[in-house]
Subunit: 253 residues, 2 copies
Amino acid sequence: MSDAPGDAARRVVPIHGHTQTLYDPQARACAACGVREFALFGALDEAALGEIHYHIADLALEPGDSLYQGQASGTALFTVRSGVVRLERLSDNGQSRILRLAGRGDLIGQEALLHQSYAADAVACTPVQACRIPRVLIDELLGDHPELARALMKRWQRALDDADEWMTELSSGSARHRMLRLLLKLGETSDTETVWLPTRQQMGAMLDMTLETASRLVSTLRREGVLEDTGPGIARLHMDKLLQALKSDAAAA
Amino acid sequence: MSDAPGDAARRVVPIHGHTQTLYDPQARACAACGVREFALFGALDEAALGEIHYHIADLALEPGDSLYQGQASGTALFTVRSGVVRLERLSDNGQSRILRLAGRGDLIGQEALLHQSYAADAVACTPVQACRIPRVLIDELLGDHPELARALMKRWQRALDDADEWMTELSSGSARHRMLRLLLKLGETSDTETVWLPTRQQMGAMLDMTLETASRLVSTLRREGVLEDTGPGIARLHMDKLLQALKSDAAAA
DNA sequence: CGCACAGTTGAGACTCATCAAACCACGTGG
DNA sequence: CCACGTGGTTTGATGAGTCTCAACTGTGCG
């Protein structure tokens, strides 16, 4: 509650080219949200936003902070507004495996809506802004706004598409090939050519390789000019060289 | 239409312990369906089944037959009533990768509901019985029966859980470990200890290994008594030995 | 300074892919 | 009937790729 300034509860905000008065602070916050058009509530119109009578917490996370833990029974789902979140899970041998990454506009923890426990841990990889959406809020909105059900299904399908893509592109082929695909994917999460570079161990958990192998590959790619270090956990990607490397890689195989 | 005998359109069928008269042949067929309680329409009551005014084709497929093709724009989703269906996809290097298997009660091709093209090829691995459910039927039912939306979401989450499980269990670890997990999973699809055994090439496409490696592993497991050939594409699984092999495998790693 | 931690690099062992040969079950046609 | 091709399977030999163990570096922090 404390993160919504009370004195602006009746301000007029521009929405989709026209203006409309929204009285509820939460509705205003959602309407003004920078990622609303990509996110779940993009399916709702301004009137529907006014019906939100539950608090949507605005979370700010530092790298390593957890959004939720696997197996925990959750009462909320989350929209990632900025930053990168990893979904990871412990395999039976004790190693942690990163299933996929969630970025700007992605919805995670949907299983809470079905009264299931979370299927994986969700941990911030970079500074992250996220919204915590209570399950009861969705339950309530679903009654009046059937279009929200379709939006939810789209989110589920998106997660499934992501999972399939990770399966085909990041879990098969040689180590080098997998690393190149990972860089490509990291490039997609950023609008600029500067991307978040995971630790070698995290790369290993994504690509099923040891951190030493990941390190060797990164070093090689740096020498090849595909990658350029610009700080800790940050790098500049040279897309042309990356694509070229991928092409010659496919030709070899 | 031709697969529903018209002279029995008014027969009384027992449902869930009591009886009820259903006039529509399609409703009767669905109500009597052996997997209805596991399948999508388990969420619907008898009255709702009566509202089904589209034909649900009953498909019988032989191994190798395709349910649908990836990239094709689909107008139907499918419930697998019996048998095993594989969802596969071509990776960029031209190799085909099997993403996961669908068995009794599973819903596949849900993306058609969102007017998306199919995300993968769906091909029968064994003789398969499946229902072809037109998209327009679901669209129509969703209006009157919001509980169906929840059932659909559960299906989506199930597919996602499956994908995550394949990622953690069948796409990481040593070749032997992955093979053991695959056998475990194949055992789950069958009630008996006799299971469908994929070709070595298919195993390779599931576990990201060559067919030679798959063959060597299968031969070794046969010698270890985990597996016993009982025909082409069929084998008897010895669960105790399988679990024991998995345990000693985890201890070694 | 000393410690902890992520990263890099090397040497050797081991796993798995590759290439190759042979086997088997099957159906077809001579 | 057998000869033959076909497709799936098995097995072997060899080399490439990756893991393991280990040493060393650089950086940040108490």
